[in-house]
Symmetry: C2
Subunit: 340 residues, 2 copies
């Protein structure tokens, strides 16, 4: 019943060679005669042999496994990043272990050490995290996705928030807006700061109205977007609105409508993140899409190169920013014509 596992030894016997040779074949070491290789491969197939990765890992100290530390599984940006990571990992023969970030921090952590070749931290708020502690005493290769790694020792891959915001404002300018308001996320988020800079630069470049009253702050929630927009409406007039994320855009749209304004005729609106919700709200919401899948791929790729490079060293940039793209929908479509 309990069939014993087929080991390298069984294969060796069947093929009439030594285990060393079988191992060489398995690892594609050159230095194996063509005929012998053939013999071994056949034996493997006939016996249905598969190398036990655990034994290999024990011996070599390499597990071909990357540990994903995720802050919140239900972050809206997580799934697409995972898609990117997974596809790369698959192609490169890496396994993926996942944990919640705080779980990992407490104690499961250290024991899990040595089990893995590298770490990817996925979080939108790494600020309060000591990365070198996470990397452990072995100082494993580690990379952050989606957020800056405060610690300069570790590379990170993130969306180009500056460029994304610029793109949003550029789009609003191009469809004819003259005054574009901005609802920022909390100022202590690096992403908020970058987006604000992008907004300001675009306002300048496209000769839009520059006015501090056109800027308000929210906390990423729909409710805060609503409130921020109401404050904006009291202070200034504008025909374009750029919100730091999609829920705030939705809240803002509520406020605009309450104020008797039509979207996009009176005010065109652009959100950020290209959440699924953009396709469901009315009007559908133009938004800036982050290159999430690409972030995942880039992170995995860089990490693998670090691993192969035997440690931290790696020639690519410490900070990699990938460009966002605009997804045009009804909240900005036809604005220009409506005005004419």
């Amino acid at each position: 019943m309990a069939k014993r596992r087929v080991t390298i030894r069984d294969v060796a016997k069947k093929a009439g060679v030594s285990t060393a040779t079988v191992s060489r074949v398995l690892n594609n070491s050159r230095r194996v005669h063509y005929r012998t290789r053939r013999l071994v491969e056949d034996a493997c197939r006939e016996l249905g042999f598969y190398r036990d990765p655990i034994a290999a890992a024990l011996r070599t100290g390499k597990s071909n496994t990357v540990h994903l530390l995720i802050e919140r599984f239900d972050g809206s940006f997580i799934p697409d990043i995972l898609v990117g990571i997974e596809s790369k990992a698959d192609r490169e023969g890496y396994r993926l272990l996942v944990s919640k970030l705080d779980t990992a921090q407490k104690d499961v952590w250290e024991p899990g050490n040595q089990y893995i070749d590298g770490i990817i931290v996925i979080s939108d708020a790494v600020h309060n995290l000591n990365l070198s502690e996470v990397a452990g005493q072995d100082n494993l290769p580690l990379i952050c996705v989606y957020s800056y790694s405060q610690d300069p020792g570790f590379p990170c891959v993130l969306p180009d928030d500056y460029q994304g915001a610029y793109l949003a404002v550029q789009h609003l300018a191009e469809i004819g807006c003259k005054g574009v308001a901005f609802i920022s996320g909390p100022p202590d988020w690096p992403a908020s700061q970058d987006r604000l800079q992008g907004y300001k630069q675009a306002v300048k470049d496209f000769a839009l109205r520059e006015d501090p009253d056109l800027i308000e702050v929210g906390d990423w929630t729909m409710a805060s977007g609503y409130e921020a927009c109401r404050r904006l409406l009291e202070k200034a007039a504008f025909d374009g609105l750029f919100a730091g994320n999609d829920p705030m855009a939705v809240g803002a749209i509520d406020a605009l409508r309450e104020h008797g304004l039509e979207i996009p005729k009176d005010v065109a609106v652009v959100g950020f993140d290209d959440d699924a919700l953009c396709r469901y709200v009315r009007p559908t919401l133009t938004s800036i899409a982050m290159p999430l899948k690409e972030l995942g791929e880039a992170a995995m790729e860089t990490l693998i190169s670090m691993i192969k490079n035997g440690g931290q060293l790696c020639q690519s940039e410490q900070v990699t920013k990938l460009p966002c793209v605009l997804r045009e929908r009804d909240s900005t479509k036809g604005k220009a014509f409506g005005v004419i």
Copy 2:
């Protein structure tokens, strides 16, 4: 520089005992003298020792690792299920390995075998999947979440679609609807069938109008919900609408509005899944929330019990259904009063 790993042997030497004893302490085996245990624990702490899980796994054949096979990382229901799985896994000391289902199927699969103690398949369409093949020749413990496992050999944990649909219709009846239409998902999905049954039973139980013209079929997309609703509007009158999922509900609302109907005054609408979008569309959408986190927890729990039970055997049900709950929002709120 390259500090050698602290091994059980180092601990043994420091504590003045044998490695066997250290191992016993590590595994909480009774049969160790109080004083000795103390000695060993101190040594561990001082040396900063952590057991190498790889070596342990090799020796014992148990890796304390569960393999998650996910059909699509970007399925909207995945994240919350993961939350449930993770919390349970963490508490029970299991590691989680993830792969995309098709990745796993092709070839990475078999090699990964033996590396894991059990498998969780997360998919909404297991129909076309040979589970016993997935379980491998070792016939590893395997459990499905979210969908039926066609193969009766494997248990599954899923939301109670029947009860959820019943709940939706019950709610509509309770706020005063007399004729409730239903937009079903594709009929070949087990979930669709269950929801249809729940709808029918509730229609009967609450003495709502029974009429085949009140039922239409969509394909889960917003566009199909729109079309289905238009067909409904041509065939019959109704003052309540239950959609098989949220995007279809959104599409249906578009059609209703186009037809000059107000939500919820003229038609109250309930969706299914309690997608994030429910909070962002206008009016906000009442929906049936599946117990996703609980599904994950239950699956992990059952799987662990199977693992400990030494295989497939397990006393719990083959099919576990967990109840859904209603999340009331504006698309049904105040309907009764509006009517009065």
